[in-house]
């Protein structure tokens, strides 16, 4: 690692670039693409631009610029791709939601897009707040067990009477007055913080002790505790909230982080075995799981929901190049602006457009994992892995469900789907990744002192 101390060395001339200029250029590009898409949708569907079109674009550009300024001031060395990627995805989501609003017969918008824009503002403000208030991500490690408690509370909140709400068979929502919220979205951040904090302290025990059987390093029985707890938690979600998607998400998150923390393949094998048994059990016990599997195997099965079928037909209608923004019929599929927004994109932008979207996600995840690799502290590494892997897993579960890689489960598509809780959660994830990447890429001379004063933290010095 080089230092910026002006000593005559070949390494010194390699000044670390903050990347903020590149970020600004990419942001201009992202906002530009979103603007073009927005204009195209309006012209195609209504044939005219709404009066407030430049206001909308202006607000969105201002929000992105605001975050950019925050980064310049508070996280100068943060990864330059994360913000433009999130801005582009969120903006495209807004455009598609607006496009569904414009469905013939209900001109004048049903207002989902405006609400989404409001949530976007709130979510980006929250991201800015995280960057401003959280000067060093390692502070979070202090709150490992508080995060665990918070995660549990958030997950179980929808089970409470009065405020809990069942939507489409899944009990994932809370409703207070006119506001409804999916606390599980935020719970995944709290849970990732907890896992990271917990695993960074226990990884030695989990990874080093145990017997080798058939080439697998098996853990001691008493070290199996945490994975069993996580497994039961995910099964609990499945049973109580009847939600396959979040169950898979939480368990996958835990297994991935456990694997990274311990470098033991045995954890993956154990995790997959546990998950498989849980899945088979769920399939046996619950009719809604059975019907999801039936539809996975045959989307056109009679007497079943035609949602998968309609989504497939939408994708097929798009074909390779898509019908063009505003030229398809995405609204025929249910939840065209939330769970099925990817099918809407596939219909109007085609296979090519979906490839581009998936590449954006892949890039986002790749930047997150790169942040993890570059991160100098174990906690930051694990947190970055966990957060980026949730994004990847979530995209895989929902897009895989729509395209029949796995049975369909209702999950939001990060940044694209209509829904405030998801936006809020994903922008916080991006803020945390930005924060960790700032620490990772920061030259040593500008590095902060470790804020966690306890000795344990210092002992676990960066490699």
């Amino acid at each position: 690692m080089s230092t910026t101390t002006p000593t005559p060395s070949t390494v010194t001339s390699l000044a670390v670039r903050s990347g903020r200029t590149i970020e600004l250029l990419l942001l201009v590009l992202a906002v530009g693409i979103v603007t073009l898409a927005y204009v195209a949708v309006n012209l195609t569907v209504t044939g005219e631009l709404p009066a407030d079109v430049w206001w909308h674009v202006g607000i969105y550009a201002a929000l992105a610029a605001g975050l950019h300024v925050v980064l310049r001031l508070r996280a100068r060395y943060a990864d330059p791709l994360l913000l433009p990627l999130a801005t582009l995805l969120n903006g495209l989501g807004l455009v598609m939601i607006h496009r569904i609003d414009l469905v013939p017969g209900q001109l004048g918008t049903s207002g989902v897009a405006s609400r989404q824009l409001l949530w976007t503002g709130l979510a980006m403000a929250m991201a800015a707040a995280v960057l401003v208030l959280l000067r060093d991500h390692r502070v979070l490690r202090r709150y490992t067990y508080i995060a665990m408690a918070l995660g549990f509370v958030l997950l179980l909140l929808p089970m409470l009477p009065f405020i809990g709400e069942t939507v489409n068979g899944s009990r994932l929502w809370i409703r207070i007055g006119p506001f409804s919220f999916q606390p599980g979205e935020l719970a995944k951040i709290a849970v990732a913080v907890f896992f990271a904090g917990y695993l960074v302290s226990t990884r030695d025990a989990l990874s080093l002790v145990g017997r080798r059987v058939l080439g697998l390093q098996l853990p001691r029985a008493r070290d199996l505790g945490p994975i069993l707890v996580a497994w039961s938690l995910s099964v609990l979600i499945l049973v109580l909230q009847r939600d396959l998607g979040s169950s898979l998400l939480f368990f996958g998150l835990f297994v991935a982080m456990l694997y990274v923390a311990t470098e033991r393949t045995s954890w993956i094998v154990i995790g997959l075995a546990l998950f498989a048994s849980g899945a088979v059990l769920a399939w046996r016990l619950f009719s809604h799981v059975q019907s999801r599997v039936t539809l996975w195997l045959d989307p056109f099965a009679p007497d079943q929901s035609d949602q998968v079928a309609k989504g497939l037909m939408g994708l097929a209608h798009g074909g390779i190049f898509g019908a063009g923004l505003g030229n398809g019929y995405p609204y025929i599929t249910y939840y065209a602006n939330s769970d099925y927004i990817v099918a809407s994109f596939g219909e109007e932008l085609g296979m090519v457009g979906l490839f581009a979207l998936l590449m954006l996600y892949a890039l986002l995840v790749e930047r997150g994992l790169r942040t993890a690799i570059g991160s100098r502290d174990g906690f930051g590494k694990l947190l970055a892995v966990g957060l980026s892997f949730t994004v990847a897993l979530q995209v895989f579960v929902i897009v895989g469900g729509i395209t029949r890689v796995i049975p369909l489960t209702g999950l939001t598509t990060p940044f694209l789907s209509a829904g405030g809780s998801s936006l809020l959660a994903n922008w916080i994830i991006v803020a945390l990744l930005l924060r960790i990447s700032d620490a990772a890429r920061r030259p040593i001379s500008e590095r902060r002192q470790d804020p966690s004063i306890d000795a344990a933290e210092r002992a676990e010095a960066p490699r």
Partner: protein
Amino acid sequence: MNTPVRRLALVVFAMFTALLLSTTWIQFVQADDLRDRAGNRRTLIENYSRDRGAILVDGNPIASSEPTDDELEWLRRYQQPSRYAHVTGYYSFTYGAGLGLERAEDSLLAGTDDSLFYQRLSDVVTGRPASGASLELTIDPDVQAAAVEALGDRRGAAVALDPRTGEILAMVSRPSFDPNALSSHRLSAVDEAYTALIEDPAAPLTNRAIGGDLYPPGSTFKLVVAAAALESGEYEPDTELEGGLTYTLPGTETTLPNFGGAACDPEDRPTLAESVQVSCNTSFAWLAGELGDDALRQQSEAFGFGEPLEVPMSVTPSIYPDELDDAQLALTGIGQFEVRETPMQVAMISAAIANGGVTMTPYLVEEVRNSDLEVIESAEPRTRSRAVSSQTAQELTDMMELVVEQGSGQSAALPDVQVAGKTGTAEYGDSGAAHAWFTGFAPADDPQIAVAVIVESATDNWAGETGGQVAAPVARAMLDAGVER
């Protein structure tokens, strides 16, 4: 911890690869199958919102698509719904392409037919919106109009053919319906209209000319029996038949009278020609017995009974019943019992006689043109079968001329043109109600048009209407409009 992160990155890579593959599978490999799946609403909207080809009669549209401002983009309009409803059929967003040419030539009109492949290709290349082919029909608008007006409010059907080619000059079915009510974009109104049409006991959606429950042919079937007799070689037009006042059905006590109880001949020995001329029941019942079941069946089939036909709408095959006893055979000889015909079949019998015994395959579409008005398909007249020898055809023609000159069909006569024809009054049910038939062609010596007309009984009891009185005038109007002078 960096090694497992890199491995995890590989897992993420594999996950995204799976998504790329599944997307390719659906949007590229399976796309066509999914698009063509029944019930794909997108394809339905897409087809509906395409510039569907027009249906033209003499270059004037009777069905065309007009641009609209709403989601469906094009509205299907029918310019003369009361005249052409059963020819065009309807094109409804809710109920799809139904009846008539809209249904039978859907892929051409929609532009999805394989024969339009090159046009579709050039549409894609030039970025021109896709459009369907238009159909120019064989219909003679004057004959069609004459038939519609002459039938008036009566239930029934009329068909006119050019016996030389098989071109369908007119195809009318009453009661009719307004296809515009079904192609409307006000979908709730469409639902109501459709329900009303389906529930209407008069069955206005049925094209009685080619489908429906089929009709007993009554005395028009005597042409088939006479043809069988002449073809057998044992009968000449002047061969005397047994034809008294009544005929006792073999093996029963039931007696069959002549129509109106009149004698066919003073000596009860009418010739074959006289029997046709006055439509003698007793002699034809006797003749059927003499000729036998097989001869009648073969002759019926030679005229086209029992054979599928598409014009391009499919015509219900006419029925010559199976396993007749002698009494039933006698009744069949006068077109009663269970023999059933479409007006199209009856017209084909006249057309075959008019055309020297050769049946031409009827067709409705003269030309198919793509949206550049290039002809991509042009109909060629095709011989369907030889029904009778040219001599038999000539002898039948002579008999049919007598029917119009001095027999039961005099009200079909035209002042300056020789008309050949045959009347029929077909009883159905038990109450004695009867449908009125007329079939014939003109001019008798140089046939240009052959027609069949049925006017359904106005009441459940026989109202005293005969084919000569009710159906012949309709045929006369059609022949008058169709004959070139």
